[in-house]
């Protein structure tokens, strides 16, 4: 078991709809959501949905993967800056490792993230693919 169905369920707003915290004082946006803005201590926030495109700020290639992603290795994990300036971490997919570059434009797509073997729940969420249109 890699993830319980209840935890998966609690993460739907973030993983399915990229819902994020936008704090009133600083105007900064965080995903996953936070209760307190680490910069200002502000707790006043609104929920916003993030844009679907951005660019790779930095990345790493996972060659020895945790068991649930063993068959996917090698794959890239990237910190992405979306067009509104929000940063998030995502797995990259539909891309050759040699093609992953800092600054490359990406689009977030809805994909399978992991599943509890062949009998457990399937967890879905965003992954980044190269932006090509």
């Amino acid at each position: 078991m890699t993830m319980f169905s209840s935890r998966n369920w609690r993460e739907y707003p973030h993983r399915y709809r990229t819902e994020a915290s936008k704090f009133k004082k600083s105007g900064k946006t965080y995903i996953p959501k936070r209760l307190v803005d680490p910069e200002t201590g502000d707790t006043e926030q609104e929920t916003v949905r993030l844009p679907e495109t951005g660019k790779v700020l930095t990345h790493t290639i996972i060659r020895i993967a945790p068991s649930q992603w063993g068959d996917k290795a090698p794959y890239a994990l990237a910190i992405i800056e979306l067009t509104d300036g929000t940063r998030l971490m995502a797995q990259m997919t539909d891309v050759e490792m040699d093609d992953v570059k800092v600054g490359m434009e990406v689009r977030l797509e809805f994909r399978r993230v992991q599943s509890e073997g062949s009998h457990g729940v399937i967890s879905y969420g965003y992954k980044a693919v190269p932006k090509w249109y």
């Binding site: 399915y16 068959d71 539909d94 809805f110 994909r111 399978r112 992954k127 090509w132 249109y133």
Partner: protein, 350 residues
């Protein structure tokens, strides 16, 4: 009341495998398969793509082309597929959650071999026509199964088409529908089986052709129209050959089917086939064009539709990526080993 499509979208995997690549593994004669099926390659879903993920992407594009439909106003989501990821747990609720259409919504997953997508369209149209709800979303999606070395393995492909039905701000207005079904044992998959079985040549004359012609002739009679009245026509496409043959036999021309005739390079997207063909046809249609569409699902039946394109098409078609672009650009060709891994055809005895 006028009803029809308010927004439409498609999604396809970028991976392709060529007929030659499959043929060489099984000792099959690639040229004769390519000629017999009139098919050169097919789409392959990577392991992190399934009917739900294809549906979400197609639905998001349909929302973009709807010109501002609030997902919360969608009253129903119906997904037609024979590859729902779960045996028990709906695909529709995940799509509803992902596009922000929960919780005031009716979801149901449809199954009817390759006709499940068009029946989702049929029911969604009925709801909005009856005034039951403002919008209903119909999705046709599959990650089709084909047993290793079976003729189906050369064609079974993946893709999705999504249509937001409504009564205002239409891009295509429904003029007529007709459905034609009988009990036909031409193709089936029993519970717990990985791959469908089929009746070989029996899937042709009495199955695909009889039902497609039955639904097509009936809707032509009902509407008082003839093939030459249409700008375009789309038929179910289990391969490249069947839709072309049935179109010509019914009196349609190659030019009429060309925009929506995707199977030669897409393969058979099962429930997605004629609906994705409709998205590609809308991408090039002009205001006032009449579009003929007829699905086919084994078991068996056909749903036929006559659409009239509105002026809004010029405004919406390029709001997001066109279906032909998804079919022809940004492709990755894979070998049989990668394909076998992607499609979980490798048994790992750990």
């Amino acid at each position: 009341m006028a009803a029809g499509i308010v927004g439409y979208g498609a999604h396809l995997p970028r991976h392709r495998i060529k007929v030659e690549e499959i043929a060489k593994v099984w000792g099959a004669d690639a040229p004769s398969y390519k000629k017999g099926l009139m098919l050169r390659e097919k789409s392959v879903p990577p392991p992190d793509m399934d009917t739900i993920t294809l549906s979400v992407e197609a639905a998001r594009r349909a929302l973009i082309r709807s010109g501002g439909v609030d997902a919360a106003d969608i009253g129903a989501i119906y997904i037609g597929s024979e590859s729902h990821p779960y045996a028990v747990k709906p695909s529709g609720t995940t799509v509803a959650e992902a596009i922000g259409a929960t919780p005031d919504i009716h979801c149901a997953d449809f199954e009817f071999a390759c006709k499940a997508g068009s029946e989702a369209m049929y029911v969604a149209l009925s709801h909005v026509k009856a005034g039951e709800m403002k919008y209903a979303l119909a999705i046709a999606a599959d990650t089709s199964q084909g047993a290793p070395s079976d003729a189906l393995e050369f064609s079974a492909a993946a893709g999705a088409g999504a249509f937001i039905m409504g009564t205002e701000n239409l891009v295509a207005e429904i003029q007529h529908t007709h459905s034609y079904m009988t009990d036909m044992p031409d193709f089936w998959r029993r519970e717990h089986e990985f791959y469908p079985q089929h009746g070989g040549r029996f899937t042709g004359e009495e199955a695909y052709f009889a039902h497609t012609k039955g639904a097509s002739n009936a809707i032509l009679k009902k509407s008082g129209m003839k093939p030459s009245d249409f700008a375009y026509a789309i038929f179910h496409q289990p391969n490249g050959k069947f839709p072309q043959r049935v179109a010509l036999e019914l009196g349609f021309t190659q030019e009429q089917i060309d925009p929506g005739w995707l199977a030669p390079t897409l393969g058979n997207t099962y429930s997605g086939a004629s609906p994705i063909g409709l998205t590609a046809t809308l991408d090039v249609a002009k205001p006032g064009d009449m579009i003929f569409m007829c699905s086919y699902g084994s078991g068996a039946g056909s749903d036929s539709f006559i659409w009239k394109v509105t002026e809004r098409i010029d405004e919406v078609r390029d709001m997001t990526v066109r279906t032909r672009k998804l079919l022809e650009e940004n492709l990755t060709y894979i070998d049989y080993g990668t394909y076998a891994k992607f499609r979980h055809k490798i048994i790992k005895n750990k």
